[in-house]
Amino acid sequence: MNVRDLIAKNTLITSFVYCGVSLLLFQSLGYVFCVSILLICIFKLSVSTGAVKKPSNIIINLLAITVIVVVFLSLGFQKTIEMFVAMLLGACSLKMLKVATKQQAQSVYLLNFFTYPCFYLFSQNILSFLFVAALLLLNLSQLFSVTHHLPIKQSINNSVRKFIFSLPLAILMVVLVPKLPPFWQLPNAKNAATGLSEDVDPFQISDLSRSSELAFRALLPESSGFQPPFYWRAIIHDSFDGKRWGMSNLQARPLVKTYEPVGSSTYSVISNPSNTRWLYTLGAGLPASNGTKVNYFGILYQKNLSNKPMQYEVSPIKLDDARASQWELNLNTRLPSDINPKAIALAKQLNQTASSTEAFIINMKAFFLAQSFQYSLSPPSINSKHAIDEFLFETQEGFCGHYASSAAFLMRSVGIPTRLVSGYLGGEFNDESNYYAVYQYDAHAWVEYYVPQLGWQRLDPTAWVSPQRILGSLSDMVDLEQEFNENLGFSLHAFSDIAAVNWLRLKLEQIDFQWTRWVLNFDDKKQSSLLEMLFGQKNKLLPALSVVVLLIIVFGLWFIYLTMRSKFREPKEVRIYNHLMMLSDEKSDKLTPKQIFERLKVQWPSAADELTEFYRLFESARYNAQPLSSHQYRRLSQLNKQIIKKAKIK
């Protein structure tokens, strides 16, 4: 196959790859852009089948302008990362229409080593890793194929072999070479649209569209003593403005009192990137690893938002909050005036027969059970000022946010300090790896109320209406299955009923868990602890440095071995000849030695005799199969030196 056909074939494949990558990223890049990439790909296909003739530069430039306009219109200037990736993909796709020479193809394939990993900006799980790895391998083969004029199949073979050969070295480098912090960072590309929000206004939401994306995973050792239901606290909403439940500044206030952990065991959580910096804590806890802080409520948080999954350790504590400050109690009973009159009336009525907070709660529970309240993921939205009134007495249909916010309102209106908590409830247990997977659809809201001398107590009003919600993950609820699946859209979760699909999903989950835990989270801290474990030294820099030095020495020796090996294979006269050639200006390897020496004689007339003698010796050794005697060899080296000397003088 000649070079032109090979390049045409390779670029066609690459066009399809760009098209596939764009389609996979269509949620981020927008479908208009994806369609334009698809059209370019189809154009390329028809050019390579000969249906359309090769486009001129003008047409390609026009297409480029069109793509730029499409990118600006569909993505806007706000999404820098998406725009950048879209531009890159667009430019590469258009270049594929134009590539004709080996050099052009090589430069595109080199650029692809940057283009393909851009996929990681959007997803980092094991499947995307495998996908990008496959693309890079393909790219390597194509580079190989274009450079060495090999059929693609053969070059795939070659590059897979090289890849496997270099894999152990790469792993060693990742594990041992010290990790430097990045010089610059991209703004967070994966700002999760899902997750918890810092302000809760459940009545505005008519359709709680929840995703099956993973929120976090937790490793809960049995010794930690936690029993289901697991209420993962993340945000405390203690200020209510009549519409929204927002956070007070307590949420970001660090915990000042010192606490001793309850029990000796800790649990760890690996959280996916989210749009808030509040982490998930069972009850209250203290950070047992670096990188996290703990706030006033005993909830862990990160200092900065990160776009990578992060792992943190928590040691549980018992908050000593029996004596809350008057200021805090005031904050938690504050209600705006003249809203929800009916609800306030109801609360007063329920409170008449109640002697204590507990009694009030029992009355409230009785009220909820007596009415025909329904748990629903798609309740009607309520826009009235008296939203809670409307919910309690008219629609009576809602999800956790509705129940929690109504109960908190009722309790506050009779003076019980109450706050709303949002976080996650439940989790799916993976038997094999012993972790709990918590998904975005497990997000939950409940309330905490204050009892003097006892402190803050948890209360989940949703449980009265829908007890199953508390027992397991939302996905386990039979009643809501239909509704739940409709809200999920298409994913493996929707087919959890089929045993095989569920098994496959759990397996994938488990692999992804191990991947996140061991690979993505392998940061400088883990590395240094690993190094510490391996070398048992407090000075962590030393072993790391020694590893680097060792690697350099090993590489150096290997390199020397490689060059020496080929040198030892070369006959002596060739070695000296090559040495002479390196110093001469005659760099051309397209001339025969005889021609080169004729030219050198013209260049260095003073060394003509030496050159003649050198060539005579070289010719008889190299072409007349008469190996150099040691005397001749010495003479040859001597001549070499003399020639170089004379050439330098000139």
Partner: protein
């Protein structure tokens, strides 16, 4: 032995002035036991060269002028009824000589051409069921007019491959041409005067000597690289065959021998590459030099 080859070249160069390189190549072809194709316009000295070669090497010589009505039997010979003995007697044609000059081979019909080329390949002819061996040594020197001339049947690629080398004498220098003008028709006269200074045995010995010339690894590698280039670069529709590779090695050896060496150099390969590969790659004579030089510029010379 090198004295012998030098003498041959000297003798021939008196006959054909200023064309030493072509003479060396022609001799190189015959020493490699190959058939020679000379492509030139009329009047360039093709016939003189072949006649001269026959004389110098001391070989019997026959010349056939190829025309469009020439029949195969006109070359191979035929059986004719003898009325006295009442038998068919075989009358050998001009092919039964040691050097056959097939003048203007592309004027003959393809049928006649292929009859000749078959004989070249087999070293024998079969007439009326009887096989007759050809003389040893047996060379065909064919001359060919450039193909654009009217009334020519170009040789097919497969038959071009049977010719070991294609050379072209080309126009002489003006200096040489001046002496030609002054000498008049003296050259043909001298052809007859050349001594028949070689025996068949000497020729066989020379041919054996060719095989003893050393072909070192870098030279073989250079031949391989050149052949590979014609196959991989995509520039040629008919890349070189293994037969061509063998021919390159053989003629490089013969060229080295003629140059007075018993080992080959990459320079020998460069010297013979054009005329061994040119006709096999379908390069017209006029472009051969440029194409060959561009190949040399692409393929590194291994050391």
């Amino acid at each position: 032995m090198s004295q012998l080859t030098t003498k041959i070249i000297e003798d021939l160069s008196q006959l054909i002035l200023g064309k030493n390189e072509q003479l060396k190549l022609a001799l190189c072809c015959l020493l490699s036991k190959g058939h020679l194709l000379i492509e030139d316009l009329p009047g360039m000295g093709k016939t003189t060269l072949s006649h001269g070669l026959a004389n110098v090497l001391g070989l019997s010589y026959q010349r056939v002028q190829f025309t469009s009505d020439l029949l195969p039997a006109d070359i191979t010979g035929s059986s004719i009824f003898n009325s006295q003995t009442h038998t068919f007697d075989f009358h050998p044609g001009p092919i039964f000589s040691q050097i056959l000059l097939a003048d203007e081979i592309n004027r003959a019909s393809p049928k006649t051409q292929s009859a000749l080329l078959e004989a070249m390949e087999e070293g024998q002819v079969t007439i009326d069921g009887q096989t007759h061996g050809l003389a040893q040594p047996f060379f065909v020197i064919a001359t060919q007019n450039p193909l654009h001339q009217s009334g020519t049947h170009p040789l097919p690629e497969s038959q071009l491959d049977r010719f070991f080398m294609r050379i072209s004498l080309g126009y002489p220098d003006s200096e040489v041409e001046k002496s030609l003008i002054l000498q008049g028709n003296k050259r043909t006269f001298e052809t007859r005067q050349l001594e028949c200074n070689m025996t068949d045995e000497q020729l066989f010995a020379l041919q054996d000597e060719v095989m003893k010339v050393k072909l070192s690894d870098p030279v073989v590698q250079y031949i391989l690289d050149l052949v590979r280039y014609t196959r991989d670069s995509g520039e040629f529709s008919d890349p070189l065959s293994p037969r061509a590779s063998i021919a390159l090695g053989l003629s490089a050896r013969a060229y080295a021998l003629i140059s007075g060496r018993d080992y080959t150099l990459p320079d020998d390969v460069q010297a013979i590459f054009g005329c061994v590969a040119g006709h096999r790659l379908n390069i017209p004579c006029s472009e051969q030099l440029d194409v060959v030089n561009s190949i040399f510029k692409q393929v590194p010379v291994p050391v």
